[in-house]
């Protein structure tokens, strides 16, 4: 019996090269999509925890502004499991690139990095001993500024002298959040390099990362440390970093996870559609096998073996393809998710995917073949499970009544239920496309400078110039149409760290993007970032009590009570920003002055030239930054990845459509022969097939559009806040509909040509 199976399978596999190649192709695409989807899912799942474990992250960081405090004495406490040791650092040094200064904190790690919070190298290498000209950059900082290993970077020291350092490597760490959501950027140098920036060691800071025996007792440990050190120090626990990183990567992780999830479903539908259609088209063959004495069980085993062999080859091709493509997606996702760079070839995962594919093939082979094998021989030979119509096609009737050409009338027939699998994969592809388009436009909208809480064209930070002098200088420039003033204070509410921004001047003339409520109009009123509202569980109309972090440390804490008059979207500092009038700040700090100035420039102003003139007027004492509407690199990357994945899904959906079309040609071979015999021209047959495909696509696209809009709206409401995010306009919906219909018509060309070229005599003889 086994040899009979072997010879029959051999004949089937070699004797039907076209159909088998088609199924093989679909299985390979489905497996590749599945491999990619699962790889992305695995990456985006619990990415923070993975990074924290891989870096052996610290539960607590302590900072002292000067180097006079010996943090290392804390090592002796029994609650301490291990520490980074005291690490010297310099805050707010400046990297100069294209005449723009970017703030960066430099950590003086040794040539052997600490075991706690050890930076994990993504590219290049760690700092070499005796190489004070090397620097290792935080991966998110480097990606955002397009910096690469080997680049020569220019830094500005406190005394305005310039230093050159070479990028030795890029590293991932969990010391702080992702740049630019968390600023300044982060970089590691040897302690000897810090000397070059600031020879006066008393001006260095000291930091220490601590892993605690019981991380839940961090607060008690802090109090104990304060008593031991008998002096003030800054601190933050890992929860705030985790919150910040998770806020930054949340949208990326969800977008990638969703795209992966869609891909997973599409691959399932592809496999189910391809195999069940192919098997049902072979129902007459099953009847003949039964006539020759095959039992239903033997028929089942025969087809199972045959499709498992096809599945084996298809899955291996798909796994290879998926494994080749995945590293590209993974390496992009690493910086998007602030992951550790260890992406390894996961044999267990690949084996799992292979087994899942073979299981799916088993299921989708067993169901239809068992269904056919159970029918009586006569039933099968007289048409098998071909559709028995119980009423005339309503669509065809409608087309007739509408006096459509007869070729269209014959094309507009209802699809059999199994074609719904193809339709579903197409629906998913359209849903993904809508989601991608919504994401694209929403991300652009959300990252507009005004929306990011930077409603100005240029900002001045005055260093050694007085407020009045700065305003005098600004007023001499006619191209500066308006300006508002602001100053920031680090603040805290409960355990949540907040940036408090006091605003003065003509701020009403600037496009602060309010989501709800109104801008502050009286002292004590404030507008709050959505991230902060979420974090504190507040809403517009509530009150907010804010403690300004004392400076210098040890001075008394000042508290402001604010009434929330409105909310706005701000993407930096994880949205944990509150803005209020300078007059409000003056209630507790009567001498408070603006330190920064947001400028609105006349259209067509040469910003770089203006910047140079302002610098000259201030004798180089202004720090000037330009706000840009350009998308942050991170956003560009996630857009690119999701778009690419959506493209793959659409191709998969269309592959299913071609497959379904070809299988249907085979099923309708005899009917096409009849049409040709009664006088259909090749062109009319092509039209009939095209119309048939178009109908399925149109139905799928309509369902996909509605579902896509609902899914996108719901996800944006959850991810961004109620009513935020942009859904595609009518132009986009029409373009998606038109594009998908056009592509599906193209997929109908091959089946259509086969139909148009068939010989009626052969078709009428076809069983």
């Amino acid at each position: 019996m086994f040899s009979l199976y072997v010879s029959k399978i051999r004949v089937d596999l070699l004797g039907r090269p076209f159909q088998n190649s088609l199924i093989l192709g679909v299985l390979a695409i489905a497996t590749a999509t599945l491999t990619l989807a699962i790889n992305l899912q695995v990456l985006s799942n619990d990415s923070w925890e993975k990074s924290f474990v891989a870096t052996n992250g610290a539960h607590l960081w302590l900072f002292t502004p000067g180097s006079n405090l010996d943090l290392a004495t804390l090592n002796t406490l029994p609650e301490v499991k291990e520490t980074t040791g005291a690490v010297p650092y310099l805050k707010e040094q400046f990297l100069v690139k294209n005449n723009i200064r970017y703030g960066v904190s430099l950590f003086g790690f040794g040539a052997i990095p600490p075991t706690v919070n050890r930076p994990l190298i993504a590219e290049g290498h760690w700092l070499e001993p005796n190489s004070p000209n090397q620097i290792v950059l935080d991966l998110s900082f480097a990606r955002n500024l397009h910096l690469q290993v080997g680049d020569q970077l220019e830094f500005e020291a406190r005394d305005k002298s310039h230093l050159k350092l070479e990028v030795a490597g890029l590293a991932v760490n969990t010391i702080q959040g992702i740049y630019p959501d968390t600023t300044p950027g982060l970089a590691y140098v040897l302690p000897s390099t810090l000397d070059k920036f600031e020879p006066d060691k008393s001006l260095w800071g000291n930091a220490m990362g601590i892993r605690l025996v019981n991380p839940n007792l961090a607060r008690a440990f802090l109090e104990q440390s304060q008593q031991l050190l008998k002096s003030g120090f800054g601190w933050y626990d890992i929860q705030s970093v985790k919150d910040s990183i998770e806020a930054s990567i949340r949208i990326n992780a969800i977008f990638l996870g969703l795209a992966g999830g869609f891909a997973l479903l599409v691959s399932g539908f592809l496999v189910a559609g391809a195999i069940s259609s192919s098997l049902l088209a072979r129902s007459r063959e099953i009847g003949l096998l039964k006539t020759s004495g095959f039992t239903p069980g033997q028929v089942l085993r025969l087809f199972l073996l045959e499709y498992l062999i096809l599945g084996l080859v298809g899955s291996l091709i798909g796994l290879t393809l998926g494994s080749l493509v995945s590293p590209f997606f993974q390496s992009q996702a690493i910086s998007l998710l602030n992951l550790t760079p260890e992406v390894t070839f996961n044999l267990l995962l690949l084996s799992g995917i292979f087994l899942a594919m073979e299981a799916a093939i088993c299921l989708f082979t067993m169901l239809p073949s068992w269904r056919v094998a159970r029918l009586s021989v006569v039933e099968v030979l007289n048409g098998g499970v071909g559709r028995v119509y119980r009423r005339p096609s309503r669509l065809a009737g409608l087309a007739l009544r509408l006096k459509m050409p007869i070729a269209i009338v014959t094309g507009v027939k209802e699809y059999p239920p199994r074609a719904m699998l193809t339709a579903l994969s197409l629906v998913l592809a359209v849903v993904t496309t809508i989601f991608v388009v919504s994401t694209q436009s929403s991300l652009s909208w959300l990252t507009e400078a005004a929306f990011r809480g930077l409603p100005y064209d240029m900002a001045i930070f005055r260093a050694k110039v007085s407020d009045s002098q700065t305003q005098l200088i600004i007023k001499t420039y006619p191209e500066i149409e308006n300006y508002f003033t602001f100053t920031e204070r680090p603040a805290i509410s409960g355990k949540t760290e907040i940036v408090a921004r006091a605003v003065g001047g003509d701020y009403q003339k600037f496009p602060f993007s309010l989501v709800e409520g109104s801008i502050f109009s009286a002292p004590g009123e404030a507008v709050v970032g959505l991230g902060l509202l979420d974090a504190l569980g507040l809403k517009v109309g509530d009150n907010l009590k804010l403690d300004l972090i004392p400076f210098p440390p040890g001075s008394p804490v000042k508290t402001i009570n604010l009434h929330i008059s409105g909310s706005y979207v701000v993407t930096n500092h994880a949205g944990k920003v509150v803005i209020f009038g300078l007059d409000t700040l003056k209630l507790i700090e009567p001498k408070a002055e603006a330190i920064s100035y947001g400028l609105k420039l006349a259209t067509g102003t040469d910003k770089e030239r203006l910047r140079q003139r302002l610098l000259a007027d201030s004798s180089g004492n202004f720090d000037i930054s330009l706000s840009s509407n350009e998308l942050p690199e991170q956003v560009k990357q996630v857009r690119f990845l999701v778009t690419l994945l959506s493209g793959i899904l659409i191709i998969s959906g269309l592959a299913g459509l071609v497959n379904s079309g070809l299988i249907r040609i085979r099923e309708q071979y005899r009917e096409l022969g009849i049409l040709k015999a009664v006088g259909f021209t090749p062109l009319q047959l092509l039209l009939s097939i095209g119309c048939n495909t178009l109908l399925l696509t149109l139905a799928s696209v309509l369902v996909g559009l509605i579902l896509g809009l609902v899914v996108s709206r719901t996800l944006f409401d959850i991810l961004l806040g109620h009513g935020l995010g942009l859904l595609p306009g009518l132009d986009w919906l029409l373009a998606i509909t038109g594009g998908t219909l056009l592509l599906s018509l193209m997929t109908a060309i091959l089946p259509g040509i086969i139909a148009a070229r068939l010989k009626p005599v052969e078709a009428l003889r076809f069983d």
Partner: protein, 238 residues
């Protein structure tokens, strides 16, 4: 009398391993307008192949087919399709109706393809259904009809354009004797109305309904005679 269709030295050869298989060998045949011709012979003798070539459903290896004096064997696929829908009606052994279209839509199909006025198509269809005794089955599906009824619908579809030639390939081969008799009576009825008919059958009894009979064997015509009264005189001529 005008010649409806004519075959000159018609040959059809199929490629086969070793020696090509010759299905038809230099067939010469004339069918006159209004004639009822039956082609008979054992299975595999080439009678269906000949019918397919006359209908333009297949192309000859060599030789000519002329419909009302016009060569049709070298026409393009599109030209052949247009010719089939207007000039040739075809009835198959297995009815070959479109399963998801109603009886009415199946019958109207060739007429609508020929861009005949829809009102006229409806009138023709209603007339044919009345004649064929199917007036109450207009909206039924093929699967809801008996074999005999399905074949009558197929006959109506073949006649709706009032073709020059009605070709029938074993039209009773899939029917019981009662239904077979009914279909043959209908063919005779349309023949009396002036319809030219060429019928292929392996059943000698059915040939008695035709005016003229051709007997084929191994791809060649071996007998050509008039049945009934004409039989003896014609046989002597051959």
């Amino acid at each position: 009398m005008e010649i409806a269709i004519e075959a000159n030295l018609l040959t059809k050869t199929y490629p086969a391993a070793g020696k090509p298989f010759s299905a038809l060998q230099e067939i010469n045949l004339k069918v006159f307008g209004g004639e009822f011709l039956a082609i008979t012979g054992p299975s595999g003798c080439g009678k269906s192949t000949l019918l397919h070539l006359l209908a333009g459903l297949d192309r000859p290896t060599s030789g000519q087919v002329l419909l009302k004096g016009r060569r049709i064997d070298h026409l393009s696929e599109t030209e052949l399709a247009k010719l089939r829908r207007k000039e040739i009606g075809f009835v198959f052994q297995f009815f070959n109706l479109i399963s998801n279209l109603s009886v009415a839509a199946n019958i109207e199909l060739p007429a609508l393809l020929s861009h005949t006025n829809r009102l006229e198509v409806k009138r023709s269809r209603e007339k044919l259904l009345r004649e064929l005794g199917l007036a109450d089955k207009t909206n039924s599906l093929p699967s809801q009809l008996s074999g005999g009824q399905q074949q009558r619908v197929a006959l109506a579809r073949a006649l709706v354009n009032q073709p020059t030639l009605l070709l029938a390939d074993e039209p009773t081969g899939n029917l019981d004797s009662t239904n077979a008799r009914e279909v043959l009576e209908l063919l005779k009825y349309y023949h009396i109305q002036g319809q030219t008919i060429v019928l292929v059958t392996h059943d000698e009894k059915i040939t008695q309904h035709a005016e003229r009979v051709i007997v084929m064997r191994d791809g060649a015509i071996i007998e050509n005679f008039y049945s009934g009264k004409q039989f003896d005189s014609y046989r002597k001529e051959v």
